[in-house]
């Protein structure tokens, strides 16, 4: 093969790759464009801070959905992060008899459709307590735990073994080595995993449908049904009312910005490495 045909082949490949890139970017950019164009118009201070109004009435906002989303995500994180990190430490550092089982379960769970998580909590908890923010958080935890566990496990595995040996050889007990040396060394990776986990659950709708249910008022506690941005978007977007549909675009825009910020956060954290 001579130089010319090789060059031509190379150029052809570059064109193909560029084409693939454009094909991927078209839907993404058009989605972002559409949400931004339709959503930005709805954004105002009132929109961010006030309660929804009944259909047809002007004004109103999604303040309670933002509050609810924050509450759900915070509670789910409070449940998931410690469990996930401890599980990851167990699999990576202790390699006990259960560790391969945990690894397998985590892998299966991470592939679970989110609606299944919702149904699971719905069946398990709702009959006893009724719809609540807590139930919603639990459903989100079912989704978050595998994500954070896998990310934490991977970053613990990436801690070089000589770091563990250095601590052990100083006469530091194993558990202290795991918590104060290995875990600390893996913190950046774990932090990245946590943010990705949060980003994932903040957009989830399906598990909340059966658990948090939704609410038109300010959320008053973990044991009450609560609203959330994805829920609100789902309800408003499927409603026949124009004003609600417009507000759904606004809420979608807010959600998009939050997820985008979280992803940027991941990049900043990861760059520190």
């Amino acid at each position: 093969m001579n130089l010319r045909t090789r060059k031509m082949k190379g150029n052809a490949m570059i064109i193909l790759v560029a084409l693939a890139f454009v094909i991927i970017m078209i839907p993404l950019m058009s989605m972002l464009y559409m949400i931004a164009i339709r959503g930005i118009g709805a954004i105002s201070l009132e929109f961010l801070t006030s309660l929804p109004t009944p259909p047809g009435e002007p004004g109103g906002g999604v303040g309670n959905a933002i509050q609810g989303s924050l509450m759900l995500v915070a509670t789910a994180s409070a449940i998931s992060i410690p469990i996930s990190i401890m599980a990851a430490v167990y699999i990576s550092e202790y390699r006990g008899k259960l560790s391969s089982a945990i690894e397998l379960i985590t892998d299966v769970l991470s592939g679970t459709p989110s609606i299944v998580a919702g149904v699971f909590i719905y069946v398990l908890i709702i009959p006893r307590t009724g719809f609540s923010a807590l139930a919603g958080s639990l459903a989100l935890s079912v989704l978050m735990i595998p994500t954070v566990t896998i990310a934490s496990y991977e970053s613990l595995k990436a801690v070089p073994n000589h770091i563990r040996e250095a601590a052990i050889a100083l006469g530091v007990p194993k558990w202290k080595t795991s918590l104060f040396v290995v875990l600390r060394s893996a913190m950046i990776g774990i932090g990245t995993g946590v943010i990705l986990g949060i980003a994932r659950i903040s957009g989830e709708t399906a598990p909340l449908l059966f658990t948090a249910l939704g609410n038109m008022y300010w959320n008053e506690g973990l044991l009450q049904p609560t609203s959330a941005l994805p829920l609100l978007i789902y309800n408003y977007a499927t409603s026949p009312y124009r004003s609600w549909q417009a507000q759904a675009w606004g809420a979608a825009f807010i959600l998009l910005v939050i997820v985008l910020l979280l992803n940027i956060g991941v990049r900043i954290v990861a760059r520190k490495r």
Binding site: H162, E165, A166, L170, G171, V172
Partner: protein, 250 residues
């Protein structure tokens, strides 16, 4: 305080692989014992048995006795044994998340010392002991990994000293360093001999000849010859030893 080590009929395995075979030897107090031998001869395993690091590897197994001042190491709590028998590794491995001074006293801190003035004082003491204080006194808060390779290794030696061990094991401590850093570490090791019993594994026969008092030659898991360094390098008794140290192996 420094202690002597006595090894009796030590056998060690990795799974099915028998890596140390009936090794018996004594390491004298306040002396430097060098362990030499070709790669895979079991020299690193030998010292890792002494501070019970060998058993931290899955499938690893040990039989036989190791006495630290007549105290059977294998009857004691490994954590406390490891604080009495320090170790320095092949590659400098300061904790990447800790500063220079935190690294120096990491052992103490992780083992429960909280008093900041005690820790700061100890950090200075051990950094001085390894000749690093003047070089890093203005960089105590920088990450330990920001130092040069030779400095990192001295930091690791300081870290081992801070726990106040009686014996220090060194696993090819200079193999990742340049010649000048190597010489500094060798001088340091020689000075440490006054207060510690030192056992050093080395690939570098000239290094063993330069700094050690006694040298052991290990081959395929067996202790072939052990004696005063000068004697071993001038007139080895065993043909294998002779061939190995004069570079006519295999």
């Amino acid at each position: 305080m420094s202690s002597e080590i006595e090894i009796e009929d030590l056998n060690a395995w990795f799974g099915e692989k028998h890596v140390l075979k009936d090794v018996s030897m004594e390491m004298e107090k306040n002396r430097i014992t060098a362990i030499i031998g070709p790669s895979g001869c079991g020299k690193t395993t030998l010292i890792r048995c002494i501070n019970r690091m060998h058993e931290t590897v899955p499938e690893a197994r040990v039989e036989g006795r190791i006495l630290l001042n007549e105290l059977d190491v294998y009857q004691e709590d490994p954590v406390s044994i490891r604080s009495r028998i320090g170790m320095v590794f092949q590659r400098p491995n300061p904790f990447p998340t800790m500063s220079v001074s935190e690294n120096a006293v990491a052992g103490l801190k992780l083992r429960g010392t909280r008093d900041r003035s005690v820790l700061a004082e100890k950090a200075k003491e051990v950094l001085m002991a390894v000749g690093l204080w003047d070089e890093v006194r203005n960089e105590l808060n920088k990450p330990g990994t920001s130092l040069s390779g030779g400095q990192q290794q001295r930091l690791c030696i300081a870290r081992a000293l801070a726990v106040e061990p009686e014996v220090i094991l060194m696993d090819e401590p200079c193999s990742a360093l340049d010649p000048v850093s190597t010489m500094r570490i060798e001088d340091l090791i020689y000075r440490l001999r006054e207060n510690y019993t030192i056992i050093i594994v080395t690939h570098n026969m000239q290094q063993a000849a330069r700094i050690s008092d006694r040298t052991a030659f290990l081959y395929m898991g067996e202790l072939i010859e052990y004696g005063p360094t000068k004697r071993l390098f001038e007139k080895p008794e065993n043909e294998l030893t002779e061939r190995y140290i004069s570079g006519r192996f295999g």
